[in-house]
Symmetry: C2
Subunit: 207 residues, 2 copies
DNA sequence: ACCTGAACACCGTTCAAGT
DNA sequence: ACCTGAACACCGTTCAAGT
């Protein structure tokens, strides 16, 4: 039929997919429905994600976990990692944060939580996918230096990083899990609970 | 064709489903495949789970989260909750635990972690389902009294419970997420990391 | 009550074809 | 390079029918 230069891109596809997920849940995302939303035949998506839905899922997971995402510039240098999802912006100079370690960690944790909450429909995608993005590398460095500053050393550092990651991920999972239940807390109280546990964890880690 | 008194039951179906999930992942579980594994036409499952796959998923989630599960005795009294998944055994007298609160919590947390790890293939099912089982009620009581004993009061108690739940769930999710990755820890080190964070969290909560 | 078998609408994916 | 359209194997679910 009529040709369709839809101007498809990996990022457009991912974003549209996230909209569908937000509206109808992860189970409501089908290639055909995604095609419809993009005004394209479902099969057009395979040109951008040749390995199909699994690859799309990986890209969504990477998109969700990586903070700095920017429109599809730097195309065509061959992917340095498996599924970067989309290209990442340069580290915008990271303007050295001179606040105490616990404030830096708290800021990071609350931002990470907010991000997971925003894409909570895709949360179960993260359960079996740990994308290897540049953002993850930055996070690793941030947490590492903060915990070192807190007085940790040796194997305690990666263990503390793990604990913090686990707490954030679990906290959002736990909140989503009980959402819409009888006595489930409002977002304000949910945030308060998150902070309560976070303070305890950070205190216990540095003690 | 030949009649088939397969002796199907909700529990048999759930257990077979868990086997398939363990072997081929959650996406590999289809009603038809489940029927094959049970030597039955797929449609026979709908007699035991009239609301289909969604109801089966709820039942699996309940089965996974509830410790005390026993074969399908007490049938036919009408479900007191939405999807109990299968019947639960009586509380087996709970033989009062007189150890200090932190040891009791540690024991609970490690058992909960082990259980989630056993059914890690079904982990993403728990992400959007918080079944209302008797076992959950017991847990609530256990954690509540332990944290009260630790010196917490008022809103701090449910917040501490939330934090502990979140940490356990997130810890398993985090482990499964990185499983099979280059420098992902062995199970022994994973357990050590879990304990490290758990000790920190409990210490921070009671401090 | 418990299970079968055909049917329907939908799905992911392949492949040849169009521009 | 980018997208279409038909095709195939598979899926969840309904419904009438068997015992």
């Amino acid at each position: 039929m009529s040709r369709n230069y839809a101007g498809l891109s990996r990022e457009r596809i991912i974003i549209e997919a996230l909209h569908i997920i937000a509206g109808r849940g992860l189970g409501g995302l089908s290639m055909r429905r995604l095609g419809d939303a993009l005004d394209v035949e479902a099969m057009a998506i395979y040109h951008h994600f040749p390995r199909g839905k699994e690859q799309l899922f990986n890209a969504i997971a990477a998109y969700v976990t990586t903070a700095r995402v920017v429109s599809g510039l730097t195309e065509g240098q061959g992917p340095p990692e498996e599924e970067p999802g989309s290209e990442e912006a340069p580290a915008e100079a990271a303007e050295a944060d001179d606040r105490p370690w616990d404030e830096r960690l708290t800021t990071w944790a609350e931002a990470y939580r907010a991000r997971l909450l925003t894409y909570s429909g895709a949360l179960s995608l993260l359960m079996h996918r740990a994308p290897h993005t540049l953002g993850e590398e930055d996070t690793r460095a941030l947490l590492h230096t903060a915990f070192t500053e807190a007085g940790l050393a040796g194997t305690d550092v990666p263990r503390a990083c793990d604990a913090l990651h686990s707490y954030c991920l679990g906290s959002v999972a736990h909140q989503v899990r009980h959402r819409g239940q009888e006595d489930s807390p409002e977002e304000a109280e949910a945030l308060a609970r998150f902070r309560f546990g976070l303070r305890a964890l950070l205190g216990g880690l540095s003690g």
